[in-house]
């Protein structure tokens, strides 16, 4: 049963993309796939398909055409004798036809810059990966009706504004690919934060892992695409070690390396090697290199903080955000001492960061390292006042207790 569910999830991007390309209708494609998947779950246990994706494609396409025919009949109010409804078994017997690979087009449609940025990631996860609106609402911290509205509005824009189901022209490629990468990065940032509190059940990190790998397969010559896939793999490799037995967050340099996933580390390293051969750097590759540097502790026994600080210098040049600057200050503090870390932190525009937990955590860590107990306690309390999720709360409370003694 679970194996069937997995086969359906694995087939989904290809089948929904092919349906959407053929039907030019995202809703119809999604509905038809859902119908076919439901039929598969009841039929497959008795009669396992040779090729699950082909089975789903045929069953869903027949269902979609049928739905369209019925809608057309309703509209004309003419009662033609309906064709007998095709069964999935018939679909299985239909002539073999390869499923056209339209996955990249579907990703470009869902990540089109004409769609609101906050809707793109959710729409991509919904349409390409099949995540439910309810789960997306939870992950993106909005109410379910709001998420539904966001997705509905995005779909209406796609249909109404004439967003093409095409891979963009070479001249538009850089901008469009940047929109795709930004979308997946947002989705992953969400999944990464989500994981610490929800364990392996509620997050959608596996979907982003699959999606980034799919993109690397479809666009193998863009180093930033490879960098993003590597970044997600490196970060996910540490997931089993991110919480301790009590459910408290564990920072990367204190994690139990035996728990890190070697399969994902190897995949990430291979992707990075391919990206390096192309020889064009970018922010995702730099971020992946930072994650990779943390993982190198497994070989050397030590976190290479000076290297990490250097990588953050490079990242800050291409992505000069307060978030980068705070992370850089932490690495500088670890590599060159708390005073220099605090000095780096002092250069950050703190105004916008007051409600951002890592800012206070970084302040606390550096102040504690510098022996500034009062400042450290103040920063930890400010962090706790933001109402962090359980894993972070446990971690911060533990540090606050340690400072009190």
């Amino acid at each position: 049963m679970q194996a069937n569910g997995k086969a359906i999830a694995a087939a989904r991007p290809r089948v929904v993309a092919a349906l959407a390309a053929r039907l030019r209708d995202l809703d119809l494609a999604e509905d038809a796939f859902a119908d076919a998947a439901a039929a598969a779950l009841s039929v497959w246990p008795q009669q396992a398909p040779r090729d699950p994706a082909a089975w789903l494609w045929k069953a869903a396409f027949r269902r979609a055409l049928d739905a369209r025919r019925r809608a057309a009949v309703r509209q004309r109010a003419v009662l033609d004798a309906p064709e007998p409804e095709p069964t999935p078994e018939e679909a299985l017997l239909a002539a073999d036809e390869p499923i056209p690979d339209e996955r990249l087009k579907l990703i470009f449609v869902c990540c089109h810059p004409a769609i609101a940025l906050d809707a793109r990631a959710a729409l991509t996860l919904k349409v390409v990966c099949g995540l439910s609106t309810e789960r997306l609402a939870r992950a993106f911290l909005v109410a379910e009706p709001a998420m539904l509205q966001r997705i509905t509005r995005a779909k209406r824009k796609i249909a109404g504004a004439g967003v093409p189901f095409e891979v963009p022209q070479p001249s538009a490629w850089p901008e469009r690919m940047e929109a795709v990468l930004a979308t997946l990065e947002i989705a992953y940032a969400q999944a990464y934060e989500d994981a610490a509190l929800a364990g392996d059940a509620a997050g959608f990190a596996p979907e982003v892992l699959r999606l980034s790998g799919l993109l690397a397969e479809l666009v193998p010559d863009d180093p930033e695409v490879l960098g993003l896939a590597a970044l997600v793999r490196f970060a996910e490799a540490r997931r089993p070690a991110r919480l301790d037995d009590l459910g408290a967050m564990v920072p990367p340099h204190e994690q139990d390396m035996a728990l890190w996933r070697r399969d994902l580390m190897a995949e990430g390293a291979a992707l990075m090697a391919r990206a390096a051969r192309i020889g064009r750097s970018g922010p995702r590759q730099i971020l992946a290199a930072i994650h990779g540097a943390h993982l190198s502790r497994r070989e050397t026994g030590e976190t290479p903080w000076a290297d990490i600080a250097g990588l953050y210098d490079v990242l800050l040049a291409v992505r000069p955000t307060p978030v980068t600057a705070v992370n850089r200050a932490v690495a500088v503090g670890e590599a060159f001492g708390a005073e220099r870390g605090l000095a780096a932190l002092g250069e950050v525009d703190a105004e916008r960061l007051q409600s951002w937990l890592p800012w206070h955590a970084a302040r606390a860590g550096l102040a504690e390292k510098a022996g500034l107990r009062v400042e450290a306690v103040e920063a930890l309390e400010a962090a706790l006042n933001l109402g962090p999720p359980p894993a972070e709360r446990l971690f911060l409370e533990r540090r606050l207790r340690a400072l009190a003694h």
Partner: protein, 116 residues
């Protein structure tokens, strides 16, 4: 698909001398773009509009119609012209919209035309 490209520019953009110089250049670019679109069979219509000091607005409210001097809204950017084009899809419309010449601060809104 048909798209209307609505050109919004700061109303006072062409008021000074620098604006007048820019205007000559922008008008030339409009002519070139319109000519090219016509040649491709993509141009359905397109015009520049006279300034908002020439605008008159009719307001319908509560079954009554009144005539007002001026544009419907007193905003910094005003509708100054439009193109009505026929292209395959949004990406082509956006590509044309990018080439519509505007003065700094100008905006081009792309709206699909309803089909019945």
């Amino acid at each position: 698909m048909q798209y209307m490209l609505l050109i919004y520019e700061p109303e006072d953009a062409y008021a000074d001398e620098a604006g007048q110089t820019a205007l000559t250049d922008i008008v030339q670019k409009h002519m070139a773009l319109a000519g090219e679109l016509r040649e491709k069979g993509q141009m359905l219509a397109g015009d520049g509009l006279q300034g908002i000091e020439t605008a008159t607005t009719i307001v319908t409210s509560g079954g009554q119609q009144t005539v007002h001097d001026g544009p419907f809204a007193e905003t910094r950017e005003q509708l100054g012209g439009y193109y009505l084009i026929d292209v395959a899809h949004l990406d082509e419309a956006l590509a044309v919209a990018r080439r519509v010449p505007v003065i700094d601060g100008g905006k081009v809104e792309v709206r699909p035309v309803m089909t019945y």
